[in-house]
């Protein structure tokens, strides 16, 4: 199932082009602005995960797959694993590209892109991407097309706006956000700092909840198909 996902994504010229552009921007960002420039690579997760289930529903591919002896959970987790593997491949490619480009064209920034530094950066980006991928997967189990992206955007806005406004709701919203959309500084979590570790714990819990919700919703979902 994960292999099919990879074939689907990397078989689409438009999507490969979009990923190529992101890889290039990430590489150039890294060369010019150091580690901060690499954050653009995060966007690849949205390109890879958007509509991951809903597109299969609307195309009829899912109905064809589920007419076979396969459980819905197998399909769903296959998609998630596929997204993560595709993202990991993208990050590996981008890191390699960054290493080659920086060492050939911008030796001054070479210290910023040592293999160890790049590997850690890619690892942190991977973990940061795994979370929105789970949310997108959840939304994609019941929203059509790429409305899962809209759902994710609304979730971010709803949870961040009150906190930004400084209203009475701010504290409650911030507490909710910390649990629903936990921010984790992975570089600090690696070093075992208490606050970062606690955030990482919330991250694991929230990720598990999103995947569990996706499983429940998808297992109960009806799959209408056809014209009458």
């Amino acid at each position: 199932m994960a292999r099919r996902f990879l074939r689907q994504k990397f078989g689409s010229p438009g999507l490969v082009a979009a990923l190529g552009v992101l890889a290039l921007i990430g590489t150039l960002g890294l060369a010019r602005r150091g580690a901060n420039g690499f954050s653009i690579a995060n966007w690849a997760i949205f390109v890879l995960a958007a509509g991951s289930v809903s597109r299969d529903v609307s195309s009829g591919a899912l109905q064809m797959i589920l007419s076979r002896p396969i459980r819905r959970t197998q399909y769903l987790f296959g998609r998630y694993v596929g997204i993560l593997v595709a993202f990991a491949l993208f990050l590996a490619f981008t890191s390699l590209l960054a290493f080659v480009v920086v060492h050939l064209g911008a030796p001054g920034a070479a210290a910023e892109v040592s293999p160890a530094r790049l590997a850690r950066l890619a690892g942190e980006t991977f973990l940061s991407g795994a979370f929105p991928a789970a949310i997108l997967l959840f939304f994609s189990t019941f929203l059509p097309g790429i409305a899962d992206l809209l759902g994710l955007l609304i979730l971010y806005i709803v949870l961040r706006l009150p906190a930004a406004s400084g209203s009475a709701l701010a504290r409650a919203a911030e507490a909710a956000r910390e649990n629903i959309l936990p921010d984790v500084s992975w570089s600090e979590a690696w070093t075992g700092r208490g606050a970062a570790l606690a955030a990482a714990g919330r991250w694991v819990f929230a990720l598990t909840v999103y995947l569990a919700l996706a499983t429940v919703v998808f297992s109960r979902r009806e799959l209408p198909y056809g014209n009458d």
Binding site: R7, S59, Q63, I65, R68, P69, Y225
Partner: protein
């Protein structure tokens, strides 16, 4: 055996509710080929979706050999061709078939040979298997969809408009594959608007209208309920031929082109009709029996 008992299904919420199925009851015997016919919006695809377990009926029950339709043991024996073919556009044909072969539980070491054999059975050239499905014509998609449905020789087949958009050769390939599956004892549910093809392969047809079973007709077997004789004679001798048939207790409906249609109960009945017209000295240009599903379709749809 597939058993459908009092199945109702409604779509939509609040003011926009549509009753897609309304108390549908039918059974499909093991090895039987059942045709679902009816106008657009009659509920045929909804019924197929319920039979496959993609939709849950609001009321009623569906079982396949005593199990729920989405039971994995049932699905291990199921092949399905959907009506719309927008699937897996990025995958090459070979990868698409290989994926479904593996999903169907096929052995890894037989993947290549089975994929090529499946493609050959539906007349797809080997070269086409290397191309992504997005480059396939509608007819080619239909063929590879059928090849997919037939992978692993399923004993239960659900085919939704299998010949839609195919050329005449494609239509005959679809028919051959259905007859082949039928000959090995597969139970087949076929949803199609191509009534001539339905008539050629189905043992029984169910006419659905507004989500209800409006009529059921047996086309083959011990006691077919729907069989029409057709004789065509010179238009100028039509009255003589009709009189000869009436003399044998047939009630022919005549057409200006010299053809006559009448109900026949058996092959012997048809032989009796031919003999009567021939003995009246009227030349017979054409003689055949048919279920005339188009006539059933028009009558049941109230046209």
């Amino acid at each position: 055996m597939i058993s459908v008992q009092g199945v109702s299904k409604t779509y939509g919420r609040f003011g926009g509710r549509v009753q897609a199925l309304d108390g549908v009851a039918l059974e499909v015997a093991r090895g039987e080929t059942l045709g679902l016919i009816g106008p657009n919006g009659a509920g045929k695809t909804t019924l197929l979706s319920c039979l496959l377990g993609f939709l849950r009926p609001d009321r009623g029950t569906i079982t396949v050999d005593g199990r729920a339709p989405d039971d994995l043991a049932v699905r291990a024996r199921t092949g399905y061709l959907p009506e719309r073919l927008g699937f897996d556009r990025e995958l090459p044909g070979r990868a698409f078939l290989a994926f479904h072969w593996r999903l169907a539980g096929g052995a890894r070491d037989r993947t290549k040979s089975e994929v090529e054999a499946a493609a050959e059975r539906v007349g797809l050239e080997r070269e086409a298997l290397s191309r992504p499905l997005r480059g396939y014509s509608r007819g080619m998609l239909q063929r590879i969809g059928l090849a997919q449905a037939l992978l692993g020789d399923p004993t239960i087949l659900f085919l939704d408009e299998p010949a839609s958009g195919t050329d005449p050769r494609g239509v005959s390939i679809v028919r051959e594959r259905i007859l082949e599956a039928k000959s090995r004892g597969a139970t087949i549910v076929l949803n199609s608007h191509q009534l001539a093809e339905v008539e050629k392969v189905c043992d029984r047809v169910v006419f659905l209208e507004s989500g209800r079973v409006a009529k059921t007709e047996t086309l083959r077997g011990e006691s077919p309920t729907r069989r029409r004789g057709l004789l065509r004679v010179p238009a100028v001798r039509l009255a003589e031929a009709a009189a000869a048939l009436s003399g044998e207790a047939f009630t022919p409906r005549t057409q200006p082109d010299g053809s006559m249609k009448f109900v026949v109960g058996s092959d012997e009945d048809m032989a009796r009709a031919i003999r009567a017209v021939a003995l009246a000295g009227v030349p017979i240009y054409e003689a055949r029996t048919s279920a005339e599903l188009e006539e059933l379709f028009s009558a049941a749809a109230g046209e």
